[in-house]
């Protein structure tokens, strides 16, 4: 459900499906959570996601809290219009570090 790459020393996790919702969130959370246990500085690439609901949002927030608690940081990139709209609706654009592209997010991680 995720693809993991190292880009210029930063771990980039791409959510591979198009949907992060109540049906997929537990599996995605488990897989990303495992990455966050061993990497402190992570970029989450959401560019393939075309639908996120509140359960999906909860996964991203749980990941953010996990990283922050370990002294790391989590950056998001590639938000599609639906995902960006949900973030704005719930004010989460004020909570996350959001970048337009993967390159921007990786550069900001350094």
């Amino acid at each position: 459900m995720i693809d993991v790459q190292e880009v210029s020393g930063t771990i980039v996790v791409q959510i591979a499906g198009t949907t992060l919702d109540a049906h997929t969130s537990k599996d995605v959370r488990r897989e990303i959570g495992a990455q966050l246990e061993v990497n402190k500085h992570v970029v989450l690439d959401l560019s393939q996601l075309t639908f996120v609901d509140s359960s999906g949002l909860g996964v991203l927030l749980a990941c953010l809290r996990q990283v922050t608690a370990s002294g790391g940081d989590l950056k998001l990139c590639g938000l599609t219009p639906q995902v960006r709209s949900v973030f704005q609706l719930t004010r989460m654009h004020n909570v996350f570090s959001i970048h337009n592209t993967r390159d921007e997010a990786v550069r900001a991680s350094h």
Partner: protein, 155 residues
């Protein structure tokens, strides 16, 4: 359980479309596909991408709330959906057997990132003009979601 759907024309202006889904999250994608295709085909005058996206997310949140809160652990029941639209309003009626949702018992969401749940009802209310939960005398619970179309048509 297979999804069942059918349509019947109520009058010259309003068409009713129904879908019954099993009460588990594997049905959500099919439900959203039904909603989007039905609005595009049958309520084409209202079918802006923004409206479709808003209604799709509101329905998702409502049905997920039912799946999460309406039944005891391990219980799944059918959820009935009905979509109707005329030039003024798009309406979704969700009905199910189970525990009625108590809106007043839901605290407002925390939007500062410190909590990762409690957004569903907030999202529904942000996206729709009316969100109403209740229970009929026969015990059937319902959720009504309405979106006024006048603003959409003027865009």
């Amino acid at each position: 359980m297979e999804n069942k759907h059918h349509s019947d024309r109520c009058d010259d202006r309003q068409t009713l479309h129904r879908l019954t889904i099993a009460g588990d999250t594997s049905q959500l994608a099919n439900m959203r596909q039904w909603l989007v295709s039905t609005i595009r085909c049958r309520c084409e005058f209202a079918a802006s991408e923004r409206l479709i996206s808003d209604v799709e997310l509101a329905l998702q949140e409502a049905v997920v709330n039912v799946m999460a809160h309406a039944w005891e652990a391990g219980v799944q029941r059918p959820i009935n959906l009905a979509l109707s639209c005329d030039r003024a309003t798009l309406r979704l009626d969700i009905s199910y057997q189970g525990i009625a949702f108590e809106e007043s018992a839901v605290p407002p969401p925390i939007l500062d990132g410190s909590s990762d749940h409690g957004f569903g009802l907030f999202i529904m209310k942000q996206l729709m003009d009316e969100v109403r939960h209740g229970q009929h005398q026969d015990g059937q619970c319902f959720i009504r979601l309405e979106k006024k179309l006048n603003e959409q048509l003027e865009r």
